[in-house]
């Protein structure tokens, strides 16, 4: 595989290099690895890097040929101290983000998940609780209804008694008045009878005197 790629890329390099002779002298100036990079990187990349940077250089200078001189050497594959600094920065960022983001928020989310699960699993128990509560409510309602009906009955009885008492009182009063009136009438009758008796005696004497002249 690798040899095939190399084989296919070689002619391109030679063609490009031969087609741009004047720039060929510039190539050594391309600042490729300046600081010692890991060995394997160097061995692997130097040929390909050179060809790629060469390609970009030639393609950039291809459109306006007169500008080629103005364009600076393009250091696309310029490895230097930036690489280890970026590594250290990344590791620091990783630890910092772990401290402020991944661990605290992850822990928080897990705890919330488990709490929600717990609550969900305890829902079955609450359904029984709900039944109990409903029964309790029903019994309370029944008791209240009974109490209310008892109170109502009691009140009804009381009022009935009162009404009867008052009725009886009224009746007594009426009877007493009736009696009195009757007694009065009797008195008056007797009086009139008495007065009539005395008048009858006088009248009979008058009649006797007139009929039997002495």
């Amino acid at each position: 595989m690798a040899s095939m790629i190399m084989a296919s890329s070689k002619p391109v390099i030679t063609v490009v290099a031969s087609s741009s002779k004047p720039k060929h002298q510039k190539i050594p100036q391309l600042s490729l690895p300046k600081i010692p990079t890991p060995k394997f990187l160097k061995i692997q990349q130097v040929p390909t890097l050179k060809s790629i940077s060469l390609l970009t250089l030639t393609s950039l200078s291809f459109a306006p040929p007169s500008l080629a001189a103005e364009i600076e050497k393009a250091a696309l594959f310029d490895f230097n101290l930036t690489l280890p600094i970026m590594m250290v920065q990344f590791l620091l960022l990783m630890f910092a983000l772990d401290k402020v983001y991944f661990t605290p928020l992850g822990k928080f989310m897990d705890e919330r998940d488990s709490a929600i699960k717990e609550k969900l699993s305890s829902v079955k128990d609450t359904s029984e609780e709900v039944k109990q509560l409903e029964e309790q409510a029903n019994s309370i309602m029944r008791a209240a209804r009974a109490e209310i009906s008892a109170a109502l009955n009691k009140m009804k009885k009381e009022t009935q008694l009162e009404v009867e008492q008052k009725l009886a009182e009224g009746r007594k009063k009426v009877e007493a008045e009736l009696q009195e009136a009757l007694a009065n009438l009797e008195n008056q009758k007797e009086e009139t009878i008495k007065s009539l008796d005395s008048q009858i005696a006088a009248l009979s004497q008058d009649i006797v005197k007139k009929v039997l002249p002495l």
Binding site: P64, A74, L76, F90, L93
Partner: protein
């Protein structure tokens, strides 16, 4: 002939305006070594964005998440999902590595596409996504290599190296070669995609400054996201591969 020189002049003007700068760096000297300052500056901005937003959103977690916390929870679940599918049940300890890999590459790529870096003028070179520098991508790829070696060795001890002669010892060279091709392909894929994407946008903007580059910019956003996902997924896959048992 005249026409050609005319067009060359026009192109010259365009080049002055667009200022396509490829492979030019703003160098700092640190103890006799050179570093690419533009890469470091943009990576600091990316790190600041990541840490700042994470701290603000996760500072005080609520049982019913707020908008920011919800987003970060979604991202964390996404990362966990990726790690779990690639690594398997023992994905827990690798979530920070995979997650940081994904977030750093993703925010780097999108910062190159969305943040107006070009406003800030540098003495030389220009600010762009940190991932369009080969140093960054190779650093991340090498860390991935270290990570999967560490995963395999810590899981199986020296028995890890028996995978090189499986299924047959004939494949030994290919298996060894894989250890070099993995970081190489990881780093060059990311580097090439991001650099090419930015170049396409810059060249299109220099040629047709309005409307036309917009679809390409959206394509760039899409590609950037995909590249971050691919890098993180492959890193997780390599780690999972070195941890799984060989039958």
């Amino acid at each position: 002939m005249n026409g050609i020189s005319c067009s060359i002049n026009a192109l010259n003007g365009l080049y002055d305006i667009s200022g396509v700068e490829v492979g030019q760096h703003f160098y700092w000297q640190i103890g006799g070594f050179q570093v690419h300052a533009q890469v470091l500056i943009t990576s600091w901005v990316v790190i600041a964005i990541l840490l700042g937003s994470a701290i603000i959103a996760v500072r005080n977690p609520q049982t019913i998440p707020t908008a920011g916390q919800n987003f970060f929870e979604y991202v964390l679940e996404f990362i966990r999902d990726v790690s779990k599918t690639q690594i398997g049940e023992e994905y827990g300890p690798w979530v920070p590595f995979i997650g940081t890999m994904f977030l750093f590459i993703f925010v780097s790529n999108w910062s190159g596409a969305l943040l107006p870096w070009k406003i800030i003028q540098l003495p030389h070179g220009e600010l762009a996504a940190p991932t369009n520098d080969i140093n960054t991508t190779v650093a991340l790829a090498l860390l991935t290599s270290v990570a999967y070696f560490y995963a395999g060795l810590s899981k199986k001890g020296l028995g890890y190296f028996s995978k090189y002669i499986q299924p047959t010892p004939i494949l030994l060279p290919i298996n060894i070669l894989e250890d070099f091709t993995k970081p190489l392909s990881l780093s060059f894929r990311l580097f090439g995609n991001i650099l090419a994407d930015e170049l396409v946008v810059v060249v299109l903007v220099s040629l047709v400054p309005s409307v036309v580059p917009i679809p390409v910019m959206f394509l760039g956003l899409f590609t950037s996201g995909i590249q971050a996902l691919i890098f993180a997924t492959l890193a997780a896959a390599y780690i999972g591969e070195s941890m799984e048992g060989h039958h």
